[in-house]
Symmetry: C2
DNA sequence: GGGGAATATTCTTGTCAAGGAATATTATTT
DNA sequence: AAATAATATTCCTTGACAAGAATATTCCCC
């Protein structure tokens, strides 16, 4: 039974594809932090930090724990697992062997399209 | 000598964070294809396919080989390597052990900020 | 319970990028 | 060298979204 190739969740990627959110994620890699800490260390205004964190949270990239006045944000493992298996499905690309599949497909394309 | 954590290239991610481009990349996972083939299989109009491919090409995700009239696009290994090591740097997150770093940092944050 | 700290939300504005349509370019075939 | 096929480019419009500024909310402490 052939395992079908993983399809990457778009929301995860678009959440990461914003410079400040990426910085937040890379900052949280070293451990959980409060909103204030994050804003401070990245020189963000508090509202923008909150907004980015909300988006990261909505997309399951981070989770919050309320601690009195503060909210402590930390990374969730799932999206990274997903990303890992997605990248893994490109192993053959990384190892640069399309074998002769390349040539093979090229020939195929030169044939009459009518049978596709 | 501590290896610093990898920083993900933003251009790679934003190139991937667009649904149709992601579909193209996942299609090319199975091997190189011409523009026409890509447009056909994904039900894209040819100009949009070309435009997305140009962006993927500008960001080093694909490379082109001219073959007479056709252009054959295929994935480049580098961005996937980069993505792989980036994800790898979140190993500890994936394995869900922030150990007691969590608690530790929490206490740290409750201290006076003046010394930070 | 009032003041202040930490965080969230709302509204507005400007920018950027994707799609559509049309057209330009390059190569091929007769 | 025309006609056609494959691909690239340009222009325009529209929608999404990030930043800024202001304000709302929640919680703690005296």
């Amino acid at each position: 039974m052939p395992r079908q190739n993983p399809v990457m969740d778009m929301t995860t990627l678009s959440a990461l594809a914003e410079p400040n959110r990426m910085r937040i994620v890379e900052l949280l890699r070293d451990g959980p932090l409060t909103v204030g800490e994050i804003a401070d260390r990245l020189s963000l205004r508090q509202p923008q930090a909150s907004k980015h964190l909300k988006m990261l949270s909505d997309n399951g990239i981070v989770e919050v724990k309320a601690e009195a006045n503060r909210r402590i944000y930390k990374l969730r493992p799932e999206p990274f697992h997903a990303l890992e298996s997605w990248v893994e499905s490109f192993r053959h690309v990384m190892e640069d062997r399309f074998d002769n599949l390349d040539e093979y497909l090229r020939k195929l394309q030169n044939k009459d399209k009518s049978e596709l």
